[in-house]
């Protein structure tokens, strides 16, 4: 009887603790699940499905490092595939956004809006720390089905852009109770239209913790389009700060 009472008390305390999480804590907790605090490199394989059939495949090498001053990730993205895009680079660092084309040997500054164009944006969005760019409110608890058809008890959050660098103006976010695993996100345009629905999946041990090994991105504008993402070969890598500038882009070499 005493054990049962203690168990009930422990469960109540745990539940109360869980309920005491602020939206920021939840978002920051999920950020820590998605990305480590140390700089790392990974290869992102994007496969586009049109009418459920694989069509294009893009491979990106992404070099990520948290900016200790802002808490946000800075990304260098190098195109590996398809062959026509090999060697193209993107610097995605707050509002310091540049695109380098080796054919023209020139770098062009791009806007936050252009950051969303093309596949590099996916490699980028999957890395950024939501807790820095968004303020959240909890809409409630929800049990949802994840990409692998498991039910997950989640916090359901509404995220609003808090900085000019936020890629989307609004998002909905589902984070699992207890584990802080990000399960699902829905991204909105400035006009309030749903653009993408994203499911994280393939949680495995990588870069020192259990993290998602990929994602599925469902295009809400083009009903025929779905993109799967696989993170492969994640590796901690010392990345000097001077890499994150326009003039380094032509120098970024395959490892």
């Amino acid at each position: 009887m005493r054990h049962i009472l203690l168990t009930i008390v422990a469960v109540l305390l745990a539940t109360a603790g869980a309920r005491a999480q602020t939206p920021h804590d939840i978002i920051a907790g999920a950020d820590k699940v998605r990305n480590p605090g140390e700089p790392f490199r990974s290869t992102t394989v994007l496969t586009e499905y049109v009418q459920s059939k694989p069509k294009d495949q893009t491979i990106l090498a992404v070099y990520s490092k948290e900016d200790k001053a802002t808490g946000q990730f800075r990304n260098l993205v190098r195109y590996v595939e398809p062959p026509r895009d090999a060697g193209k680079m993107a610097l995605l660092d707050g509002q310091n956004l540049w695109f380098y084309d080796p054919a023209a040997k020139s770098s062009v500054r791009i806007s936050t809006q252009q950051r969303l164009v093309g596949q590099a944006s996916i490699g980028d969005v999957l890395t950024i720390n939501f807790a820095i760019d968004y303020t959240g409110t909890t809409l409630g608890d929800e049990t949802i089905t994840d990409a692998e058809h498991q039910t997950r008890n989640c916090w359901h959050l509404d995220l609003r852009a808090a900085t000019p660098t936020a890629v989307y103006s609004r998002a909905e976010y589902w984070v699992e109770h207890g584990t802080f695993w990000p399960i699902k996100a829905k991204f909105y345009s400035d006009s309030g239209r749903v653009l993408k629905i994203l499911y994280y999946r393939g949680f495995t041990q990588r870069l020192g913790a259990v993290r998602p090994g990929g994602a599925v991105i469902i295009d809400a504008v083009d009903a025929s389009l779905v993109t799967t993402v696989e993170f492969t070969n994640p590796t901690f890598q010392a990345i000097p700060d001077f890499w994150y500038q326009r003039d380094y882009l032509p120098r970024l070499r395959p490892e």
Binding site: V80, R84, S106, S189, Y199
Partner: protein, 470 residues
């Protein structure tokens, strides 16, 4: 499409109202779209991530429509009415140990046209764009020796700070300045660059190894000549620094010296809001005007007689002149980007210069060589990659994944602001597969008979091309 939108709207509304079961049903419909079919196997990791080489074979067929009754008759030979280019384009890099690399970039062309005989050596031409050794003695320092393509500038239509651009474009398949940059010759030089967190310094020295040569035409290009007379006929020195002052502000400052001419330049960019990037590219230095420069060059290279300098009024006196590109890009939420630029080329033709150009042909065009000398001015400006007119505007529109996935559309216009004539061009490119891209390009010039573009022999052109990457 409407059903999906309705489902999403329902999910959103019910989610906000906390009606979990209804939301779960909508989520399930999202999940149904996750493909069951596995993706195709990725290329082996080591191979794919260790290469940034790009190689492709392509073919481009151009059909050209020429204007008749030109205000200033075009000297013989007549422009081609068709050209075909079959080419192998290569950009490769080889690692030679930890600190050394060898870079090669070039295009081998097999060309045919109704303006050149077949078969002759003129059918084959190799464009050696780059060939250099790179040494990285420290983590943030690089030295390069060989033919290197250094390109400066943040504008799209005209790059005043792109100091190594004169004479480097070997053959223009398009009027799109951003594409022209892709097939231009580098310069034999020694470069050094060092980076740190808040900026970079780059220096380059390009020696004079030969004498200036006459402007090439399609009939006198050499098959495997590296063309150092185009790129290394003068000693040139460049120093530039880029400063990362703030996220949105990374100014670049440039100093350039060649012969008796010194120029300064700057590149400024900043983001305005989420959608707009504004930029300004400026260069200035002491020089004579375009007409004087062209006549001097024609005389020096033996193309024009000494007496030609009196053909048109010109200013041989060197004074400080500005070159400017100022503009902005605007990106929309549906993958479109617009660029609008104003270009100032202070050494270029004024309206009076244009009147003189046309009137001289009327009054003295009957004298042998006069019309050829007038057209030489325009060839010179094109060869130098300088706008011929003082004031112009540039408009470009890009749409990625237009209408269907993998279809990219581009349209551009270059407009002379003095006479309102212009050039328009539209391009469509479709990526059929991972390895194949096909495309088409249509361009035309418009304007009055006595205008910059309305006086050109080329009235319209159509280009079809296919590329196979491997």
């Amino acid at each position: 499409m409407h059903d999906i939108a309705r489902h999403l709207a329902t999910a959103l509304v019910t989610g906000l109202l906390g009606i979990a079961p209804a939301l779960a049903a909508s989520d399930d419909s999202d999940l149904d779209r996750i493909p069951a079919q596995l993706p195709p196997p990725s290329p082996p990791e080591q191979t794919s991530s260790s290469s940034k080489d790009v190689n492709y074979v392509g073919d481009a067929l151009t059909l050209l429509g020429n204007r008749s009754g030109l205000a200033v008759p075009f000297p013989p030979p007549d422009p081609a009415s068709w050209e075909n280019w079959l080419y192998l384009d290569t950009r490769d890099e080889w690692r030679l140990g930890e600190e050394w690399r060898l870079n090669y970039s070039g295009r081998l062309n097999f060309r045919s046209s109704n303006s050149i005989p077949f078969p002759t050596h003129e059918n084959v031409r190799n464009d050696l764009r780059e060939l250099f050794i790179e040494w990285q003695p420290t983590e943030a320092t690089w030295l390069e020796l060989g033919r290197v393509n250094i390109r400066n500038g943040v504008a799209l239509g005209f790059n005043p700070t792109d100091f190594f651009r004169p004479r480097t474009v070997v053959e223009a398949l398009t009027a799109d300045p951003s594409v022209l940059r892709e097939d231009r010759l580098g310069t034999l030089m020694l470069t050094g660059q060092t980076l740190w967190r808040h900026g970079s310094i780059t220096v380059a020295y390009a020696p004079k190894v030969t004498n200036p040569s006459a402007i090439y035409n399609i009939r006198d290009e050499l098959s495997f000549d590296p063309g150092l007379d185009r790129t290394n006929a003068e000693d040139r020195f460049l120093a530039k620094t880029s400063l990362n002052i703030a996220e949105q502000f990374n100014p670049e400052l440039l100093y350039f010296h060649t012969g008796n001419r010194t120029e300064f330049g700057t590149n400024l960019t900043t983001q305005i809001g989420r959608d707009v990037v504004a930029y300004l590219e400026w260069a200035g230095g002491t020089r004579s005007d375009l007409i004087a420069d062209a006549f001097r060059y024609g005389e020096m290279t033996g193309t024009l007689p000494a007496a030609v300098t009196t053909l048109l009024p010109n200013s041989t006196a060197a004074r400080f002149r500005n070159d400017l590109s100022v503009g902005a890009s605007y990106a929309t939420g549906n993958n479109m980007t617009f660029n609008l630029e104003y270009h100032l080329h202070e050494a270029g033709f004024t309206s009076r210069d244009w009147s003189n150009w046309f009137n001289t042909s009327v009054s003295r065009g009957f004298i042998p060589g006069v019309n050829a000398a007038l057209w030489y001015l325009r060839s010179y400006a094109q060869d130098q990659q300088e706008p011929i007119s003082r004031h112009s505007a540039f408009l470009r529109w890009d749409w990625q994944d237009a209408f269907v996935k993998d279809l990219d559309l581009t349209a551009l216009a270059i407009v002379n602001l003095q006479d309102a004539s212009g050039l328009v061009q539209a391009t469509a490119e479709y990526h059929v597969s991972r390895d194949w891209t096909i495309g088409g390009l249509a361009s035309g010039t418009y304007g009055g008979r006595r205008s910059e573009y309305g006086s050109l022999p080329g009235e319209a052109s159509l280009l079809l091309r296919a590329s196979h990457y491997f």
